[in-house]
């Protein structure tokens, strides 16, 4: 069992190495195919892992180690800690510094791992037909696979240092993806966007590392299972400093206002597959880290910083939505909408209640699926018009590109939180959590924040409907429909169908995930 998780981590790396060993010409031709096969295998593997998790009676289930009895848990613990770890591998790596290679998965990380495998697979499938202008597919697919390893590794790391390492693995590959394959009209802009992304994130993770070291100085271990069993007590002094540093580091990645300034450019300039992975996966590393590290390891200190986290999250919701109203670029608009959605996730985590954290975890998955779809659609529109500027694209997409226009409307509705689609449950639960936060938190503050966040949902609806109105509707006579030969190509249909299905499925049957998170 533990071998399966290690294979999931090693397989994409092996795929990347294989691609780089191929000659350039051959490599460029079959890169997407190799990537599809490799990431397909990873998806199958993660599905098997998920299946074993659901059926603990299978022999592998007996290997679960170091579980904490759920009855010991105080009410505000995130679900992350209640579960036993599956696929546990725990070997010393660097004894001199107390670093261990400790990985394992539970209900919190498994859905994210499956989501990662799925999104990377879809990106590879998409690349079979649709490629950025810069070419060099061999390197692009190899870098996507390395990102996959980094993301899955972060979601399964059970040692703080290992978490930090996997957290950093994605940086240079994503920097290259934005810098080389980004917007081919704006060389300087994409270089700036890539640099801003990588430098802000690396500063954030260095700050986070100092927090980890403070945790180690207080507790004497980096092991997350041990730390979850014996959290660092105290809400002042060193634990508080550690919590602030870790929260800031994760907030850069997530990102939470005002640390989001790298995000709009990075998403807007990245190629389609880069945007999908950035929004769908990389942002989740931050929110996952909060649930996995801050809540269980530093509970007392988290109580101190939670109101501030919630406050900044709500500012992110409102300002992100307002910024969306002012955008003229479709990719930047979706990027800013991510700021707002990640704000809901931050708010859910900050409530420190079972409902709120569950909502945050659900919103994590839902945002990955829906925003992945939105960025695919934005990429498709951008490729067809050779620009992502709304004023240049014009209106009347319903007439000119009926299927893509309809899908865009569908994705926007899902993203604004229409009941019955995936985006609804997470944000609803996050708001519900804010209505009744953990007893240790000031309820009045959270009620106020809940109301403001509620205003944010209205604004979200406003800018998405404005997008639909400005892009899809309008008089087709002004915008000739003959410009584009293809409305929805077959490869796009194949790539997007899983995301559409998941959006509907998670919207109609949220218990599929929520029931797995033990505490609700």
């Amino acid at each position: 069992m533990s071998a399966l998780l290690l294979v999931l981590l090693g397989l994409p790396l092996a795929g990347a190495a294989l691609l780089w060993l191929l000659p350039v010409v051959l490599g460029d031709r079959i890169a997407a195919l190799v990537g599809t096969v490799v990431s397909g295998l990873v998806l199958v593997g993660s599905a098997v892992l998920g299946y074993r998790w659901l059926n603990p009676g299978s022999p592998a289930g007996t290997q679960q180690a170091d579980s904490v009895p759920a009855t010991d848990l105080p009410a505000y613990d995130g679900p992350g800690r209640a579960a036993a770890m599956l696929g546990d591998t725990n070997v010393p790596w660097l004894p001199a510094l107390d670093v261990r290679f400790h990985v394992g998965v539970d209900a919190v990380s498994l859905p994210l791992i499956v989501l990662s495998a799925l999104l990377v697979l879809l990106c590879c499938v998409y690349s079979l037909r649709i490629t950025p202008q810069a070419g060099r597919m061999r390197s692009l697919v190899a870098l996507l696979l390395i990102i996959e390893t980094g993301v899955i590794g972060t979601f399964s790391a059970l040692d703080l240092v290992l978490f930090f390492i996997f957290f950093e693995v994605v940086l240079i590959p994503m920097w290259l993806v934005i810098d080389i394959w980004g917007d081919h009209h704006d060389r300087a802009g994409r270089r700036l966007a890539a640099n801003r992304f990588v430098l802000m994130t690396v500063l954030g993770s260095a700050v986070m590392l100092i927090g980890f070291l403070l945790v180690h100085a207080e507790s004497g271990t980096f092991d997350l299972v041990a730390l979850a069993a014996n959290p660092v007590p105290g809400g002042t002094g060193v634990p508080l400093t550690a919590a602030i540093l870790i929260a800031v580091g994760l907030a850069v990645k997530m990102p939470i206002w005002p640390l989001h300034i790298w995000l709009p450019d990075a998403h807007a300039k990245a190629p389609t597959v880069g945007s999908v992975l950035l929004a769908g996966l990389l942002l989740k590393l931050g929110s996952y880290g909060m649930v996995r590290i801050l809540l269980p390891v530093l509970p007392d200190a988290m109580v101190e910083i939670a109101p501030y986290l919630a406050g900044f999250s709500v500012i992110a919701i409102v300002l992100g939505s307002l910024a969306c109203l002012a955008q003229t670029d479709v990719k930047r608009l979706i990027a800013y909408s991510s700021v707002g959605h990640m704000g809901f996730i931050g708010l859910g985590i900050a409530t420190m209640s079972a409902v709120g954290v569950t909502g945050a975890l659900f919103a994590n998955i839902a945002h990955g699926v829906i925003t992945g779809l939105l960025f695919f659609l934005a990429g498709a529109i951008k490729d067809r018009h050779d620009t992502s500027d709304l004023r240049l694209i014009g209106r009347a997409l319903y007439a000119r590109l009926p299927r893509i226009g309809a899908l865009l409307t569908f994705a926007c509705l899902a993203s604004l939180g229409l009941p019955g689609l995936a985006g609804f449950w997470g944000e609803m639960l996050a708001l519900l959590g804010a209505y009744e936060p953990n007893e240790a938190l000031p309820r009045a503050t959270f009620l106020t924040l809940m109301v403001i966040a509620g205003v944010g949902t209205v604004l979200t609806a406003a800018y998405f409907l404005r997008l639909v109105r400005n892009l899809c509707q309008g008089d087709p006579a002004q915008y000739p429909s003959t410009t584009f030969a293809v409305d929805l190509s077959r490869i796009e249909l194949v790539t997007w169908t899983p995301l559409i299905v998941l959006t509907v499925l998670l919207g109609l049957w949220p218990a599929l995930l929520i029931d797995r998170w033990v505490l609700l």
Binding site: P95, L97, V99, I165, L171, I172, V202, L203, A206, I210
Partner: protein
Amino acid sequence: MNITSTDWQAAAVPLILALTAIAVLIADSLRPPKPSQDDDTPADAPGRRRAHLVATVLSAAGIVAALVGTVLLRDEQLVAFCREAVEGPPECSLVVEPLTIGLWAVIVAGGLGVVLLSAYGLLDGRVPPGEYHFLLLCALCGGTVLAGGRDLATMVIALELVSLPSFAMVALRRDRRGSEAAVKAFLVSVLSTAVMLFGISYLYGLTGSLHLSTVTARLAAIDADEQRVALAAGLFVLVGFGFKIAAVPFHAWLPDTYVGAPVEVTAFLAVVSKSAGVAGLVVVTTQGLSTQALDLRIAIAVVAAVTMTVGNLAALRQVEAVRLLAWSSIGQLGFLLAPLAANDVRAVVAYLAAYAVVTLGAFGVVAVVQRHRPGGLLSDYRGMVRTEPGVGAALVFFLVVLAGLPPGLVGLFTKFAAFQAVVDADLGWLAGVMAVNVMIGLAVYLRWVAELFRLPVDEPFSVDVETPAVAVIGTCAGAAVVLSVLPAAVFALAG
């Protein structure tokens, strides 16, 4: 001074290096007289090549022997050149202990790398091979003595034994840039020696001894007024070492000297010379001057913070490869000094080892490129990942290790250890400065990495890379990869 006991095993490694140096000089003088006075005439080429081969093989053999000796001594605890002390245990001038072994391993292995690199670069240069290797071995000998030395007189002499050959090596090419670079380094070095001797004379006046152990013991007993003198003396010694290792604000000589010297000599300065200086500083601070009466930790911490910030910021603006490496080596030095301020020797030696391996590798690549593109601009490296995949990928890996990001895990772990040492020593502000510098450092190296990954333009760099260069670059890359997977090895160096 009556020397009462000496374990010659302890002195074996420096002795091997010294004897090899003499052997190289003799072998070089035995070569047949030159047909003309001018070294550069083509007629002399076969003779030159033979002389170069002999010198390379001899010094490589000597250094390998020294490396083997270091490995054999790894679990020993030996002393040499001891005499009875008035009080306490005997005072010994040369000590072999785990710290010494770790430093020796870095210095000697770095020396071997430079010899191999020179086998590539000097084949057609204007540098006389015999003299070059003699000077290199002398400096190595000085470096090993410095790492093992435990009295201030021995250490000053050893430091001079490292420095003086360095200037000669910088100027060996006998052109204008080389001479200017050498004079700059020489003047700074003389000044720094004077400053250091000044401090040492104060320490001697206060304690009546030059042996580090005795100095430490007696410093504990001095009164408050004398403590102030001791602090000033300690700072003078620190400043002396600061010049040698080019810590800010004593760094101004370094970039010009690095650029003016032949690439192999620059590699020597950046790897061997700098390791030796750091070794001396480690020994002096941890064995002698780091007491309650004389706490230099804060001074070192401030120097570390300023050094890394200035070095990295200046490196951001460089457009020449060697100048970028020169400034970034100042930045790296700051990271080296940070754990020293926290008295964590293990982290210092581990960082030094990782730095030495990848710096040597990076200079190997620079040597290859500059041989065909003497300009030495960063833009010369454009597209190398595609046109020269092996060398290009190796350079990317070296730079990523220097930046301390995955996949360069050995760089990440040594930076991590530095952070850990600093955080555990309650130097939170220094940890903050280090975090910012991780970001600036990454920005520095990414500029170069970006050039490597860009699509090649009109005249891509593509050559047949000669075997010695492949050997050096390959060895360094292999070592860096192995150490990235098994980082425990670098942390085992200092025991």
